[in-house]
């Protein structure tokens, strides 16, 4: 800090803590100390207060303790002359600011003032508030569901960091440019604060920029106080993925410094409160960059690189404001040490993973391929090197220029790859990437795969000149970039000519069929090695996934073939073959090789791992699992809870609360985090009897996995099994569950005791 910053931050902290105290006094008088306070869908109470102090705030009355703590961290301002040191004192004041801000937001929830209303605003994906559908309000805090679903992207580098923007950009155009630049780099962007009442959220809203989880942008609130939400998100990341416990304040802050690449970008005037909140952020190791003149703090230590950097916007070199905005973003990335992989894809629209979630609505539609009115398929196959001309992109048939707006046409995307290390087994692995690659283009929406693919191109993208050939350019560039180790040459042919589409679709279907059989044949007992996956160790240091053909990674993103391909791409990377060696217990799934690996991979935390059991040495989880499987002792079975399900379960806990038990890289018999496709595997808790043990399951899983489960039920010899499994629509308590099982004659009741 400098004395200037220290003075302003301490003043801001003193003021906010006082404000919080006054608000709390008022709320206590009006609502009473027993009034419940909480943030939506989180198991972490008020997360910053929980993480830093261990206090589980559930009522207004308990907030008094939190504020007493905050007040104890305040200090008198540095004197004009002959001052005593202020750095430690400023950081403490910053922490007090965060406690006060979280208290204020909690009280606002009590009064219905959060999430912040904003008329005319629509969230493109966000925290759900009962029946509210994202219209007319900002996001408020990020819920645990989203935190976990972003987990894998955080750890595999797809989402290299976070930007917390506070304030208001110089102009709407600059606001859009800054956000686009961040999106292009897949940096998750948090928006809050204002300058004289005007927020970057207003600016982006006016410019029609889609804001929400789907576009990697989260509008928290238009005041500085809402900046507590991203910090609560950061605090939770240490609890969710880092295996850290509440009150391990220092460890949680250090976790953020080492692993969470976030920075604060202050746009416009920095007032006392912003200085105070920035001091709070610096505790997490997050540097602060301002686009105005503020004192710079360049020495390092609390943060990894510079603490506070000033880049007065007008003084940034550049031919215009847009170029200056770009430079500003580049500087932010450099200061936090964010490792960004920028895809240089030669298309006329912005490109990056942040655009993956963009939706193209009917009204904005230029053309669609697939869906209800046409067919779209994708097929990737390998060929010999001589057969592939790298970079050749061919459109066979007409473009979409002649199709009227909002029309549709048939299309086939055929990708031919060659490479010395390429294997037939990798074809489906690469083919599945087409979804992500195409989705990365702004204004293009991709859904599905194989012959059920569905692509939409927006009018805006078409106006910018996006055409069919660009699909080829995207795929060529991205396959080289991401899979360069196994792919030497890539060519793409786009078929629109109906005869050719039909001809290639036939060929593709033969291949799909072949691959299905291959996958069906690919069982655990037919391979000699499984793969480790330590991708998440950057976040969950002691967790290790063992991925087998019949048990994919708990994040759902990595199956055995993916791991095998990943190993070929990077032989020293996070996916290493585990030689199975001697089978120790075939039923429970113990091998010498997997046990040995568990010890090494978990750094001694886990001694043994059973591949097929939930009751004995179950596999650990990081925090980004798709579902939780949990023993219901009374029912002699397990329940399966989707992370998308926020309702109450017979276990008496919601997903968020249960996730705390399942994650963090620790073995908890009776609880596992898994990928949802593992549920359909014959090896799903086969040691305990398999799928027949499922007595309760989130309805969302029943619906989205209906086809897979149909096969499973038949395999289990009980075609009606799925209907016998209860869900949250009918059953939310153990009593109800037992009644349901009796009534439906569920097979679990007749199975041997689970323990």
């Amino acid at each position: 800090m400098s004395k200037y910053i220290a003075t302003r931050a301490m003043r801001g902290a003193n003021a906010l803590v006082t404000e919080a105290e006054l608000m709390l006094d008022k709320a206590l008088a009006e609502k009473g100390p027993d009034t419940k306070v909480s943030f939506p869908n989180t198991a972490y109470y008020l997360p910053t207060i929980l993480a830093m102090t261990g206090q589980q705030v559930e009522t207004l009355g308990q907030l008094q303790t939190a504020l007493e703590h905050a007040r104890g961290l305040l200090h008198p301002l540095p004197s004009e002359n002959k001052w005593t040191p202020y750095l430690g004192e400023t950081l403490d004041s910053g922490m007090a600011t965060l406690f006060a801000a979280e208290t204020i937001e909690a009280i606002r929830f009590v009064y219905g003032l959060q999430p912040e209303p904003l008329p005319g605003f629509h969230l493109a994906g966000g925290t759900s508030y009962g029946s509210a559908n994202g219209d007319g309000h900002l996001n408020g805090p990020i819920d645990d569901i989203q935190l976990r679903s972003w987990g894998i992207q955080l750890v595999d580098g797809r989402m290299p960091g976070f930007a917390a923007i506070v304030g208001c950009a110089k102009s709407n155009a600059v606001a859009v440019k800054i956000v686009r630049e961040l999106q292009k780099r897949n940096i998750l962007t948090f928006l809050c604060g204002n300058v004289n009442g005007r927020s970057i959220i207003h600016q982006l809203q006016e410019e029609g920029v889609e804001l929400g989880y789907d576009t990697y942008t989260v509008p928290f609130g238009t005041d500085t106080i809402s900046a507590i939400y991203p910090l609560g998100f950061a605090a939770r990341s240490g609890l969710t993925f880092g295996g850290l416990k509440p009150a391990m304040a220092r460890e949680i802050l250090m976790y953020n410094r080492e692993r969470v690449f976030a920075f604060v970008l202050a746009l416009g005037e920095v007032d006392d409160l912003k200085y105070a909140a920035a001091a709070g952020a610096i505790n997490f190791g997050f540097p602060v960059i301002a686009d105005t003149v503020i004192p710079e703090i360049l020495p390092t230590g609390v943060t990894t690189y510079e603490h506070v950097v000033s880049m007065p916007f007008d003084q940034i070199e550049g031919k215009d404001d847009l170029e200056r905005a770009e430079r500003l973003v580049q500087k932010c990335i450099e200061i936090r040490g964010v490792k960004v992989k920028v895809s240089s894809v030669d298309v006329p629209v912005p490109y990056g993973s942040a655009f993956e979630g963009e939706v193209v609505r009917k009204a904005d539609l230029r053309i669609e391929f697939g869906g209800k009115y046409s067919r779209c398929f994708e097929y990737l196959h390998m060929a010999s090197s001589e057969e592939v001309v790298d970079g050749k992109i061919e459109v066979v048939g007409k473009g979409f220029e002649e199709i009227p707006a909002q029309g549709s046409m048939d299309i086939g995307i055929v990708v031919k790859v060659a490479g010395r290390n390429m294997q037939t087994d990798f074809e489906p692995v690469l083919e599945r990437q087409i979804h992500y690659f195409v989705n990365g283009a702004s204004g293009i929406q991709h859904v599905g795969q194989r012959d059920i693919a569905w692509i939409r191109v927006s009018s805006a993208a078409a106006e910018k000149g996006f055409n069919l050939e660009h699909f080829g350019k995207i795929l060529h560039a991205r396959f080289h970039e991401d899979f360069g180790a196994i792919v030497d040459k890539v060519s793409v042919t786009i078929y629109t000519e109906p005869a050719k589409v039909a001809e290639w679709l036939e060929k593709a279907r033969v291949a799909y069929d072949f691959r299905n059989k291959r996958l069906a044949d690919l069982t655990d007992d037919r391979v000699e090695e499984f793969y480790s996956c330590t991708l998440c160790q950057s976040f969950a240091p002691n967790h290790v996934c063992v991925v087998s053909p019949q048990r994919l990674g708990l994040c759902g993103a990595y199956n055995w073939l993916d791991c095998k391909a990943s190993f070929s791409i990077n032989p020293t990377g996070p996916n290493q073959p585990i030689k199975l060696g001697k089978s120790v217990d075939y039923l429970k799934g113990y091998w010498e090789g997997t046990n040995d690996y568990a010890k090494i991979g978990s750094h001694g935390v886990v001694q043994e791992v059973a591949m097929y059991s939930i009751m004995e040495n179950p596999m650990t989880a990081c925090g980004c699992f798709e579902c939780i499987v949990m023993l219901v002792p009374e029912a002699n079975g397990v329940m399966v809870l989707s992370r998308e399900d926020t309702s109450m379960t017979p276990a008496g806990m919601t997903f968020s609360t249960l996730a705390g038990v399942a994650g963090g890289g620790l073995q908890t018999p009776g609880v596992m985090g898994v990928g949802k496709f593992y549920l359909a595997s014959p090896k799903f808790i086969s040691a305990e009897g398999g799928f027949k043990r499922v007595v309760w399951m989130s309805s969302v899983l029943k619906e989205t996995m209906a086809e897979e489960f149909k096969v499973v039920c038949e395999r289990e010899g009980d075609p009606d099994l799925l209907a016998k499994i209860a869900d949250e629509r009918e059953v939310t308590t153990v009593e109800q569950l037992l009644a349901w099982l009796e009534q439906h004659n569920h097979p679990a009741l007749a199975l041997p005791p689970m323990f």
Binding site: S2, L73, T84, L87, D92, P299, D321
Partner: protein, 670 residues
């Protein structure tokens, strides 16, 4: 011929100069004039005189000459040196012992007026030694810790407990070299035994024990003293204080505490604020009691309560000559016998308090920690009663503010606050080169040099070279008097990189870490710097130097020994007590070289004597640069740094509103 110096040549401190001129006018001698009159014995100064037995004293001034017993020059020098170190260790450690007994008495509620003020530190210290802390009262823990610490003095075998707090690698090295102290008293006794006539007569072997005796001080007695002082009186944190003779008050009863121990002085601090005492002082016609300190007793109450320091070692006589001091209350160490005779010229009472220290002609009021507050009040009343005898006063109106109180605990806090406290920012600053290196400039005043001159010159020059300075003892007070212990000095008196660090943290560029016994705080800081990572895995790899430019006491030599043993390069000013006369007697500088190159090979640290301040600075910078290079750190380049800070902001804030907005926030677009 003895030379006679002017007041300006005797001290660079204008307050001291004023008083020295007054001494001259009054015809009163001081240590300064006595030093002028007393030429040092050149044979003794070179360490070539042996008076260990009655066959001598033997003065070895000729080539090939040996003592009556056959002792060679190097044996004699090594024996003299180890005896000095043993005396220094004994002084510090005996101070530590008294602290340990006080802690024991406090734990058993037998010490009037004392409480355990820093329970957190008590728990941390106790947990170093696996003393159970959970679910126990502070008194129970303190009782165990006191027993453990008391036992360190008489322990006969094994290792003194605090050495486990050293870096692992260092402790291993000590074990390999056979220098881990077994018991504090045992090493001192053995030093005396070994140097008796006809004992250890191998210089290197004697000097190995010098290291062990020094370690018994630094990682033994002194460390115990600091720990317990903090536990009983509070771990220092920054506080505003003042230094120099101007702190004495014309209209108040001036009581100066002088010496080294905090036990009595802390109680006098408490008593001086007692309404009973204030009323008593008012009844005597004074506005109250103005307490101030000299030497390290001053430092002890300065770093904790901000009680002003009237000055350092050489100010003890000058303070009395102001005619304003009703009582000078002394305990142990560095108290000149001259005070008593000098005080006869004024009304000042010299009150000795330690059972170990009496001075002929002084008033003795013996201190006993069991009745501390009562005794403190008694002493203050004596002083107040003396107020009526005060004659004309002559107080130089010179004083300076300072911010002392940089315990290693606070340094840790100041670098990251309650939640992120660590040494990382300091290590980063050294690694980046914003801080070129760290110098601990400590030690005494010596009237043979110009008072404070060497301290101040070296400090000021090193600051310009971006060397962060930590100080204790009389050296610290020298910088305080100069205003270098203020945040402001961190903006104007330093190089660009160090300025950034000072401004970031809000610290003065010179950190006052306490009394001379508190040099162990520096050992702890160095240990923590090593533990933080990035600056090697042992203290000898850290770009740091220890200096004592104006040393004079045996304690300084003990400190030098434990610093060397801990891996530090130690530079002393003045002359070497083992310098020999190499121009007259060949090989009479063998010991001089051995404690430099010889010790460096064994411990990574070395002790050298460099009288010229420019050479001292050169050697310091060469050393830190050498250590930087060995660590693979970037070459120091001040041009790279200096952009941080408030200057630009403050400049813009001076502009008229419209221009200011434009300059700070830029042109608004929409």
């Amino acid at each position: 011929m003895p030379t006679k110096r002017t007041a300006q040549q005797q001290s660079v401190d204008p307050a001291a100069q004023e008083m020295l001129i007054r001494a001259e006018e009054l015809g009163i001698g001081t240590a300064f004039t006595r030093a002028d009159d007393m030429a040092p014995c050149n044979i003794g100064a070179a360490g070539m005189c042996c008076k260990q037995c009655d066959m001598g004293p033997c003065r070895l001034t000729k080539e090939g000459q040996v003592g009556v017993c056959g002792a060679t020059i190097d044996t004699i020098q090594a024996r003299n040196l180890v005896r000095a170190i043993a005396a220094g260790s004994a002084a510090h450690s005996d101070h530590g012992r008294d602290m340990a007994f006080t802690l024991k008495a406090v734990a058993n509620h037998e010490a009037e007026g004392y409480i355990i003020r820093d329970v957190a530190k008590l728990r941390i210290v106790a947990s170093h030694y696996a003393i159970p802390i959970e679910g126990r009262s502070p008194e129970e823990i303190a009782n165990d810790l006191a027993d453990l610490y008391i036992a360190q003095f008489g322990q006969q075998k094994g290792e003194v407990a605090p050495v486990i707090r050293a870096p692992q690698k260092r402790l291993q090295l000590w074990r390999e070299r056979g220098v881990v102290p077994r018991g504090i008293d045992r090493e001192v006794v053995e030093a005396l035994h070994r140097t008796h006539i006809g004992d250890d007569q191998d210089a290197e072997h004697i000097l190995q024990h010098a290291i062990r005796t020094g370690l018994a001080d630094g990682w033994g007695g002194s460390m115990i003293a600091t720990d317990i002082s903090d536990i009983l009186f509070g771990t220092p944190a920054p506080v505003l204080g003042q230094a120099n003779l101007g702190v004495l008050k014309d209209d108040m009863v001036n009581v100066v505490v002088h010496g080294h121990e905090p036990t009595l002085s802390q109680m006098i601090v408490a008593a001086s604020q007692d309404p009973e005492i204030i009323a008593y002082a008012k009844a005597a016609g004074a506005k109250g009691v103005q307490l101030s300190g000299i030497c390290c007793t001053a430092n002890e109450i300065l770093i904790r309560q901000g009680i002003p320091a009237a000055g350092n070692f050489l100010h003890q006589e000058l303070a009395i000559m102001t005619g304003s001091v009703e009582a000078m209350v002394v305990d142990v160490q560095c108290i000149m016998q001259a005070l008593v005779d000098l005080a006869k010229n004024f009304h000042t009472k010299i009150i000795t308090t330690s059972p170990k220290v009496r001075i002929t002609g002084a008033t003795h009021i013996e201190f006993d920690e069991h009745k501390a507050l009562t005794i403190a009040k008694h002493i203050l009343k004596e002083a107040i009663d003396n107020y009526k005898n005060r004659g004309k006063t002559h107080i130089p109106q010179i004083k300076e503010d300072l911010i002392p109180g940089f315990s290693h605990e606070y340094i840790n806090y100041m670098l990251g606050g309650s939640y992120r406290a660590s040494f990382r920012p300091l290590n980063d600053a050294i690694m980046s080169g914003r801080i070129r290196g760290v110098a601990a400039i400590v030690g005494c005043n010596n009237p043979r040099s110009q008072q404070d001159y060497l301290h101040n010159y070296v400090v000021k020059e090193l600051l310009k070279q971006d060397v962060l300075i930590v100080q204790t003892g009389c050296g610290a007070i020298a910088s305080a008097k100069l205003g270098l212990m203020l945040g402001e000095a961190g903006l104007t008196e330093v190089g660009p990189g160090l300025r950034e660090i000072c401004e970031t943290i809000g610290i003065p560029p010179v950190l006052h870490m306490g009394s001379c016994v508190d040099n162990t705080r520096i050992l702890t800081v160095l240990t923590q710097v090593v533990a933080e990572g990035g600056l090697g895995d042992d203290i000898d790899q850290v770009p740091a130097v220890g200096l004592a430019p104006e040393w004079m006491s045996e304690k300084a030599l003990a400190i030098a020994a434990y610093c060397v043993a801990s891996g530090a390069y130690v530079i002393f000013g003045g002359s070497s007590p083992v310098g020999g006369m190499p121009d007259r007697v060949s090989d009479s500088d063998k010991v001089l070289h051995y404690i430099s190159e010889g010790w460096e090979k064994l411990y990574g640290g070395k002790l050298e004597f460099i009288p010229d301040p420019d050479e001292m600075i050169k050697a310091t910078l060469a050393h830190v640069d050498k250590k930087r290079a060995a660590l693979g750190l970037p070459v120091y380049d001040p041009a790279k740094f200096g952009r941080s800070g408030d200057a630009r902001m403050l400049e813009l804030e001076m502009l008229p509103v419209a221009e200011r907005r434009q300059a700070i926030y830029g042109t608004a677009a929409d």
